[in-house]
């Protein structure tokens, strides 16, 4: 029967375009439901992995999903805020450690995450180059930020102004890169990390300027009365924190009221976590404690429902495609009746002709399976990452 396979192969090769269209149709028919499942499953895994690794989140009462997405993926432009004292409250409870997150600002599109050194240990982030930030104005950048912007230890980066035309708004701060994180395959690769106090400096809550008490700054003094010095508009403000001027940076007011976006709560055990969650259940606190995994599960339930509808639609489409492909084959056999008759008149059996037709169908199905496998592999290895990057998660 090798002759029948040879004829089948030759027929498909001669009618290349027709065969390719057929192969593409069958491949798509098999690939689309598979791809939908793969994409949803892989995206869900990628989404939940980070959420599962984050025990609890404390944030301003309000949108749960927004709080989780912003805290895990640094997604929001203007995240809701809670005061730094909320972090103190968590730590004072003795039930858990807290890690501050302040994610309001950006540098050339990359989110600036104001946090503490505990964050790196918590996320198991390693340094690829340089050292961790230690002083005000120092930054550690994710692997992607370093490669995309071509920066490393010793280089500088500048925070983006929130609005160009708002004179009272946030001004750019020049920060010194002291370290680059090793690639972790997480949103941390795309972020710039600074101490939370540096983020407050970017916001203008802390600032540095020339020392008015010194005589050389007399041109900037409007008045001196009873130990109070009032500066005029000539006062020189620093937009970069250096070893020379770091002593001139200071914060006005009580830092316990300064803003955070969220606090990652790391309880030592389930009991502590439960007790802590109980404390924030009452609405009067104004805060909420969330289990990120549970919030994302809710989101994924919706996604899976939508996925089922999409797959149902694709199945209907597949049935229609099968019907069309079958029709094409039947019409093709009709047109080839003369050819089959010639083969039979020359001595070919019905089995030979059936094998010839089956081999053509087999080759198309085999080719489609290979194509589907390749497309699925590409989807599995590249599309999920691409999809997640599209939604900036």
């Amino acid at each position: 029967m090798t002759g029948a396979f040879f004829l089948g192969w030759r027929y498909l090769r001669y009618h290349r375009l027709k065969s390719l269209v057929l192969l593409a149709s069958v491949s798509l028919m098999m690939f689309l439901p598979t791809a939908t499942r793969l994409l949803v499953a892989d995206s869900a895994t990628a989404l939940t992995a980070r959420a599962q690794a984050t025990p609890l989140l404390l944030g301003e009462r309000g949108g749960e999903l927004e709080l989780v997405l912003n805290s895990l993926y640094f997604h929001a432009e203007q995240p809701p805020q809670l005061p730094y004292s909320a972090l103190d409250d968590v730590e004072d409870s003795g039930l858990a450690d807290g890690i501050p997150l302040y994610t309001r600002f950006r540098s050339r599109g990359a989110p600036i995450v104001g946090t503490s050194l505990d964050y790196f240990e918590f996320r198991n982030l390693q340094l690829a180059d340089g050292r961790m930030m230690g002083l005000l104005g120092e930054a550690v950048v994710g692997a992607n930020v370093a490669s995309e912007q071509g920066i490393g230890p010793g280089n500088n980066l500048v925070s983006s102004p929130e609005t160009v035309f708002d004179l009272a708004g946030v001004y750019p701060l020049k920060m010194r890169v002291v370290g680059v994180l090793a690639r972790s395959g997480s949103p941390d690769d795309d972020a710039v990390f600074v101490d939370v106090r540096t983020a407050w400096v970017i916001q203008g809550l802390g600032h540095g300027h020339e020392d008015l008490a010194q005589g050389k700054s007399s041109g900037s003094v409007l008045s001196r009365a009873q130990g109070t010095i009032t500066a005029n508009a000539a006062l020189k403000q620093f937009n970069e924190i250096t070893a020379e001027n770091i002593r001139d940076f200071h914060f006005h007011g009580d830092t316990s009221g300064f803003p955070l976006s969220a606090v990652i709560i790391v309880p030592p055990d389930d009991k502590s976590a439960t007790l802590l969650r109980g404390r924030y259940q009452n609405h009067e606190s104004g805060y909420q404690v969330l289990v990120p995994g549970e919030v994302l599960d809710g989101l994924l339930e919706t996604v899976f429902t939508i996925q089922n509808y999409i797959i149902l639609g694709l199945m209907m489409l597949s049935l229609a495609t099968i019907a069309v492909v079958t029709l094409v084959f039947l019409l093709s056999q009709q047109l080839r009746r003369g050819e089959f008759m010639t083969l039979k008149r020359m001595g070919a059996s019905r089995g030979f002709v059936a094998t010839l037709i089956a081999s053509e169908i087999g080759f198309v199905l085999l080719g489609s399976l290979v194509m589907t496998a390749i497309l699925s592999w590409v989807t599995r290895h590249y599309a999920t990452e691409f999809l997640l990057s599209l939604v900036a998660l």
Binding site: R10, Y11, L343, R345, A348, F352
Partner: protein, 223 residues
């Protein structure tokens, strides 16, 4: 007895209202080249199909090249067609998706016992050379003229060195010049391989080349 002997052959189509054919006697000697003429629809092509073992007679006897077709199973008749019969059709019936060489190899490709042999390519080349198409082995049928296609069909029919060469109006689609060439080719190939040739034709200008002309109307019993 290596020619064709037909006696008291009766055949009718199951679905063709009332057509039936009765041939009391027909003898063709081994190596003989005969032309069969007669009106359309009289059963000439049916006779070729019966002699080839494609159709089965209702009754009567057909002996071809020493094989008793009327006693054969379907499988044995297929084997007989592959081994003993070469056929040339009016519309050439070459497979458009096979090259000239592959079309000539077709009797080997459809043969369930067909084995690859080193002499196949040699045989194809020698057949093509005998019809003047030695440089066309890799061409596709669509690239050939009608006359060239029919010459390839003759090569295909001769590939297995058949005892019987059947040609059903092989000149029907050809111009006068090619008609003459194809008939000469069929006869020369049959003689060269010591094969019998039965050619059905409506073209009386071709008949002089044959040793015998059979008028189908005189062959069948019209009662």
């Amino acid at each position: 007895m290596s020619g064709i002997q037909i006696s008291n052959l009766k055949f009718s189509y199951a679905s063709a209202g009332g057509f039936h054919m009765h041939i009391p006697r027909l003898d063709i000697a081994a190596g003989e080249c005969v032309a069969i003429v007669g009106p359309s629809g009289s059963g000439k092509t049916t006779l070729l199909n019966l002699v080839a073992g494609t159709f089965v007679a209702r009754s009567g006897e057909i002996d071809v090249a020493g094989q008793r077709l009327h006693n054969m199973t379907e499988g044995a008749r297929r084997r007989f067609r592959i081994d003993q019969v070469g056929q040339v059709f009016q519309a050439f019936e070459l497979l458009e998706y096979l090259s000239v060489a592959e079309n000539i190899l077709l009797p080997r490709l459809i043969d369930p016992d067909g084995r690859k042999s080193s002499d196949a390519q040699q045989r194809i080349q020698s057949l093509l050379a005998s019809v003047g198409l030695q440089d066309k082995a890799d061409k596709m049928p669509g690239e050939l003229s009608h006359g060239e296609r029919q010459r390839v069909a003759v090569c295909r029919a001769m590939f297995n060195r058949p005892a019987l060469l059947l040609a059903d109006e092989p000149t029907g689609n050809l111009d006068q010049d090619n008609k003459q060439k194809v008939v000469e080719l069929l006869i020369s190939q049959a003689r060269q391989h010591d094969s019998m040739l039965m050619m059905v034709t409506h073209d009386h200008s071709m008949l002089d080349a044959f040793e015998r002309v059979i008028d189908f109307a005189e062959l069948v019993d019209s009662k």
